[in-house]
């Protein structure tokens, strides 16, 4: 009941004219970011983060989270109209979205994608509204050992659920931890890993890393082949929208299932991309139209879009209530909160009620505004894609440089961004995941602090991480997540031995 009162108060905050304005600006910018290659949710938010330093924190987070929603919506446009996923989580949408567009059903496909995105997000926001305060209240009991256990669980989930080889995920993540350790040690005030370079005193800012890894790296990847977009016109009229909306309730089960998958994957933090693929795969298996998947089946658009948006939104739940982001974009948002002097985690719900509930209310409104904007502005966003890449690429690069410079007003940071760009290009080409690297840069200090405080309290005994039921359970869950792949394979082997049927081939270690 108290949550409802807080939520209504949050709506009063989110409905302020200025906040509505930043919501619309955020959504439009986000869709453009989602549409353009080389710009994604994480680095788009990172580039625009310095613009919000002069705003009140609530307006700033509303704008940034709306950029995120916009990017989630935007990825579908390019997938359906051009068969080019603007974002990784939109890859599965191309399977049926593009064939639908080729059959002259682009309007239906886009309406289904946007509406499903909205449904997925709405499901996740309702879950956040109901669950986040409970999780936060529960997390208030946490001491340093429990905090470290939560970080441990998050990082182990990344390793266990990663589609990339496990040791590449470990290497990328540990690189992130190492980068986070550079500079001043927060506990002793001692310098470390600076090797006498004064530029390294402040360590590596995660925003620079994000802009470089995700922005510059992506541009370099795209430039390998050069991009030639085929001009295509897209129109959505009210008749098509209403007709598609009439049809969508038939697929309520797919929407519900995909929403649940998305929320789970968003919290764990597997992320929106595996959520969209998993949801598509399950829908294909259980649908009575499964044979049509891949040939322009509307259910093949609904499933991945619902799941991706639910996962992207649900990733904010652990970020808000525990201070552990569920996705790279959530990590950037968390960094933003720290910059504005807010401490993400359970205390946020106690000390910054107006901020938290304003944000949650803006999620509802932002997604409604987002849905309306994308439904009405598709031709405009599709036209952006017809701007040749030789104009778009330098503009994106300049934008990245501005974003990197304005973090600390330092040209050294811009050079660093370029270095991170090359690193991002190499790592991506060699199949190293970038998300755990970014997450480790953001959370490295906090995880280390929790770890050292725990050891200090226990006089160096590692048993502190299994000293009570709560911390032991979280650590055990972390270990299960860490060894999820081998455990799963072992279970499948046991089952096949029991039933006498051969095991289906699974993905192996590359």
């Amino acid at each position: 009941m108290e949550e409802l009162t807080n939520l209504f108060h949050g709506f009063a905050v989110a409905l302020m004219p200025f906040n509505i304005l930043v919501m619309v600006i955020g959504i439009v910018l986000g869709v453009i970011i989602g549409v353009l290659p080389g710009l994604g949710g994480a680095n788009g938010v990172a580039i625009l983060l310095p613009l919000t330093f002069s705003m009140p924190p609530t307006s700033a987070i509303i704008m940034l989270s709306c950029i995120y929603w916009g990017a989630l919506f935007g990825g579908a446009i390019t997938s359906i109209l051009f068969n080019i996923p603007g974002e990784p989580w939109s890859v599965a949408t191309t399977f049926d979205g593009y064939p639908m567009a080729q059959q002259g059903k682009a309007g239906e496909a886009l309406t289904a994608a946007f509406t499903s995105s909205f449904v997925g997000a709405l499901f996740a926001i309702i879950m956040i509204t109901l669950v986040a305060p409970l999780v936060a209240r529960f997390a208030l009991e946490f001491g340093p050992a429990e905090k470290f256990a939560v970080y441990f669980l998050a990082f182990c989930s990344f390793i266990g659920l990663s589609k990339e080889p496990a040791f590449k995920t470990v290497a990328a993540m540990m690189l992130g931890f190492a980068l986070a350790a550079v500079g001043l040690d927060s506990m002793t005030g001692q310098l470390r890993l600076t090797f006498g370079f004064t530029e390294m005193l402040n360590g590596f800012d995660f925003l620079i890393a994000v802009i470089g890894l995700f922005g510059i790296g992506e541009i370099l990847l795209t430039m390998e082949d050069g991009l030639s977009f085929r001009g295509s016109k897209a129109k959505i009229n009210l008749r098509v929208v209403l007709q598609t909306w009439k049809e969508l309730p038939r697929y309520w089960m797919t929407s519900l299932r995909s929403s649940v998958i998305g929320c789970w994957m968003g919290i764990t933090p597997a992320g929106a991309t595996p959520a969209s693929f998993m949801s598509y795969g399950i829908a294909k298996r259980v649908s009575k139209n499964g044979k049509n998947f891949g040939h322009g089946e509307i259910e093949g658009v609904i499933a991945p879009e619902t799941a991706a948006h639910a996962a992207g939104t649900a990733a904010l739940l652990p970020m808000l209530s525990l201070g552990v982001p569920g996705s790279p974009t959530a990590a950037v948002l968390l960094g933003g909160l720290l910059i504005w002097g807010l401490q993400p985690g359970p205390m946020l719900f106690v000390e910054q009620k107006e901020f938290v509930w304003g944000l949650i209310a803006s999620m509802y409104l932002g997604n409604i505004v987002g849905l309306l904007i994308v439904l009405t502005c598709v031709p405009f966003f599709a036209a952006i894609l017809r701007i040749p890449f030789s104009i778009v690429a330098p503009l994106i690069l300049v934008l990245c440089a501005i974003g990197a410079y304005s973090v600390h007003n330092s040209t050294f940071d811009v050079m660093l961004m370029l270095v991170f760009g090359v690193i991002g290009y190499l790592l991506k080409k060699c199949n190293y995941p970038l998300a755990p690297l970014v997450l480790a840069i953001v959370l490295g200090d906090k995880a280390e602090e929790a770890f050292r405080q725990s050891l200090l309290a226990s006089q160096g005994a590692l048993g502190v991480f299994f000293s009570n039921g709560l911390v032991g359970t979280i650590m055990a869950l972390g270990l299960i997540a860490l060894f999820w792949s081998p455990l799963n394979a072992g279970y499948a082997r046991l089952r096949s031995a029991a039933t006498g049927r051969p095991r289906p081939a699974g993905p192996g270690y590359e």
Binding site: F177, L397, C430, R452
Partner: protein
């Protein structure tokens, strides 16, 4: 050092992957050395400053060694990229480096105008009129949005001093 598929040449994926694993391993060794310098033992304040990064360095070295072995053992004869593709990448990377390098001396606005102009003319083969319009228009819009609207100061050079901006 080059692999070949269908007559196309370029560095082999296997080789680059091994190189990347090796580089990450070297970073791990550097982290270990830096951590030992900072102290990895137990002090009055508990674990010392190098304690945590030391083990991180160990993990980096260990995982890189495994990645290096699996890269060398993999039967992967793909190319990392063709030389032509790497040429495309370099055609962006080198001008970007020049753009970033020039920024402290001539400011962001002039360097970005030159960068955009060069990019459009060299890679896009646009008419001079279009090139000039976009190359000058983009920094002007940037100035208005960032400096005037959001009050975010960006690096300036002699030209801006001359114009009194």
């Amino acid at each position: 050092m080059s692999a070949s598929t269908d007559g196309n040449l370029g560095p082999s994926h296997k080789l680059v992957e091994a190189g990347v694993a090796l580089l990450i391993g070297i970073v791990g060794i550097v982290v270990i050395i830096g951590s030992i310098r900072a102290g990895i033992g137990w002090g009055a304040e508990g674990p010392r400053a190098g304690f945590f990064p030391f083990y991180i360095g160990l993990f980096i070295v260990l995982s890189s060694a495994i990645n290096l072995i699996s890269a060398l053992r993999a039967r992967n004869h793909h190319l990392f990229a063709e030389w032509g593709q790497l040429g495309h990448v370099m055609s962006v990377l080198i001008p970007s480096a020049l753009f970033v390098g020039a920024m402290p001396f001539i400011g962001l606005y002039v360097s970005s105008a030159l960068f955009i102009g060069w990019f459009m003319r060299w890679l896009g083969k646009y008419r001079w009129l279009t090139v000039v319009a976009v190359a000058i228009g983009a920094p002007v819009v940037t100035y208005l949005v960032f400096e005037r609207w959001f009050l975010v100061p960006l690096p300036k050079g002699p030209l801006e001093d001359l114009l009194g901006l």
